[in-house]
Point group: C3
Chain length 315, copies 3
């Protein structure tokens, strides 16, 4: 693997998931693999889970890990051939080339504008960085994908699935803020590559981008979608068609015990952070069917497997 | 020791102080004790001494240490059964459970509202975190206690005391801002548990909470309190009765050379940071009787002893 | 070497440059030299290159590295005998003494006011810190010097020079903001100590401080200065005479391909971050004559050589 930015970067999905489970079973088995190597994490957007889990994964492999919160005061120019007399003090061209010399791997979290759909869906910041970086890049969530989360989710489903081809439902959720489509896009992409039956359910207007949804069935009736489900994965996202907008009000799409009762004793999943009693009722997230804490646990093993794969291909 | 949040968590106070002195005498003696273990420090309030001394202590034990400044942008919900549609993106229930999976020990600094006395004195944030965390928690100062500082202070007094049962005076100090009662509460609690004669002196209105002051004598005349003292420990705090308020103006209670002359050649102590010529006159803090730099030094050994004790009981 | 704050602290310049090249050739050769030692980096001003390169250098020597961004919320008092009832909660006297007890080396970045020339040129913050610190101090850029950058620049020139005594031109550049004179002052100081022919060129009004420029020739005609040059080092700075002011507008002094054509196939240098098409044209910085990325690379080896020298003299 040369970079880790989407499922398309993964040579062998089963092998990568197995590697993550091996790390979980034996966390310090490869403790010298990253010795004398540096992982630099750049957060253009703040993070809790991703930062901590990736730092821990790097440390477990013996790496030195340095985190930069690039939000405050460090404004980069991403456009070419511009006269840089605004508030942006450095071009991504220099920044990426320079950081590449201090790091063996670079992790980067970028974010969508939610106003300029074209720029967001070109994942412009991530790709500019990759163009000018000379070392492997790990996406810690980009404008349109969150592949470390999706690898985690696949691990979690693999562990808890009771049938060979479980029914997995991605269910849109209400939220007070307009959120990116990244987690949803990425989840769909990874589930399509895995041996599951995926159904997506959301109110009209929240259709995912055609290049992500592909041939995956969409069911506008949430209750119908939940029937026979083995896993309910819920997540809020803003509209792609009416880009970046929240189109609906009310709690109608919240995941409740009544809706969970329609499933085949389905597990409940969410990537966190989650708004309780907005996205999901307390009774669901606090039930034994809830896998949210286990998902967060798996973030560290997913990160470790990805770093190991990239280090391996460095040698 | 299962957690370290107050003197009541300590099984054997003398043993813990001895352990701190042993760390000071031989800093790297236990350099592999924390190998492959992670200490995550959460600061809901910023910190210099506590952050640096605790990170250094963790590193000396071979731990990997990760610091999160939770102040900026990371707003947690602490109330149960609430509909989370405000600005708080995550519940402490998930946050604590998730961080517990990445850490072997969690250190946390919380702070009082200074407006809601009941919530502050329940130490609600710390206790919510401990309820949902699954690993030992170290208080890096809470709404009402600062036990690492108190352990440090006890070490310092132990080293410099000239008599078996020294007279220790906690003297309230003026300050331009309303400050927590945490350091004062904690100091009283630890001195009560140690073999010293404690006297507290402050203007009327600054009485500490009954559960902290207990049977410790209070002397409203600062000069009388200083007579025969071996240690003068000064600290500003806001009112408990008129909760969170500053009731007095003027520099009458500042520690001066004249007041120090009333003591039995007492040492001067303060936890830092200190406002010079407000809390204490330059001539006192700059004199050879001042132990403030030594106290700050001992912070690292106190932290190391606490981490060692917790790691020991993990095994 | 006892501290590293200017070229005057360096015993043997050639030896220090050789040490930096040795680190570059064999990065992990001294990987245990800093074991059980702590490097604390204090940034009163934010930083990308300096922070990352110095952290990486410390890690490569086996040190534990802790970075504090002192900008936010941590306000220090630098004046003596003051009544501290303003917004400054701690005096540099305590802060420096305390941090010295947690660190084996302290790195510090300070900055000029650009309004109070006398205070800036006394480098007051740096010197106060050094007065009260009890361990070696590394300047990570001060109000008036940037010695780690200058060591880097000397390394870079040494590697690329084609003649025994190359002609090096320091050329002032336009910039939308008023910038410190630190990089320029320091570059002049180091080039004066090295075997190069230095010429400084700038518009009238941008004369450097007399104690820095010394006997170095100043040429007000940029094109004349470029003639026969082997290295063009460009940097913006604000006026010393009309202190902290930007006196000129327009892009007349930008480095362009036309100007580079006047040189003896000179290399182009800049310390970064750089404003493209303001300080230098894309065609120059993107050409094979540009050394800016190599300069940034050398920052890590310069830092490593400095830390090694200081650690060596600790023993």
């Amino acid at each position: 693997m040369k970079h880790f930015t989407s499922v398309h970067d993964v040579d062998d999905l089963t092998k990568l998931v197995d590697l993550a489970f091996a790390a979980k079973a034996n966390p310090n088995h490869n403790k010298n693999m990253g010795q004398h190597k540096t992982l630099i994490l750049l957060f253009f957007n703040p993070s809790l889970r991703t930062r901590l889990s990736t730092e821990v994964a790097g440390h477990r492999l013996g790496m030195s890990v340095i985190t930069m919160n690039a939000g405050q005061g460090w404004k980069l120019e991403f456009e070419d051939e511009v006269i840089m007399n605004s508030d942006k003090a450095e071009h991504i061209k220099e920044a990426a080339a320079v950081i590449s010399q201090y790091a063996d791997l670079i992790g980067v979290r970028t974010f969508p504008s939610l106003t300029d759909r074209e720029a967001d869906y070109q994942d412009r910041i991530l790709h500019k960085l990759m163009t000018y970086a000379s070392v492997p890049v790990i996406s810690l969530e980009s404008a349109i994908r969150h592949p470390l989360q999706s690898l985690t989710d696949l691990m979690t489903i693999r562990h808890f699935q009771k049938t060979e081809r479980p029914k997995v439902v991605l269910s849109w959720a209400p939220h007070p803020k307009a959120l990116p489509q990244a987690v949803a896009n990425s989840f769909v992409e990874w589930m399509q590559a895995a041996a599951v039956d995926l159904v997506v359910t959301h109110p009209p207007g929240y259709e995912l981008a055609p290049e992500f949804i592909g041939a995956t069935p969409v069911e506008y009736d949430q209750k119908k979608a939940f029937a026979e489900a083995d896993f309910i994965y819920t997540k809020s996202w803003s509209s792609y068609a009416d880009y970046g907008k929240v189109l609906t009000k009310g709690s109608e799409w919240m995941v409740t015990p009544e809706k969970m009762a329609l499933t085949q004793n389905a597990y409940f999943m969410h990537c966190l952070p989650v708004r309780r009693n907005v996205v999901v009722a307390d009774q669901v997230i606090d039930s034994s069917a809830s896998l949210v804490i286990e998902q967060a646990n798996n973030r560290q093993w997913a990160a470790q497997a990805v770093i190991q794969s990239l280090l391996n291909d460095l040698l």
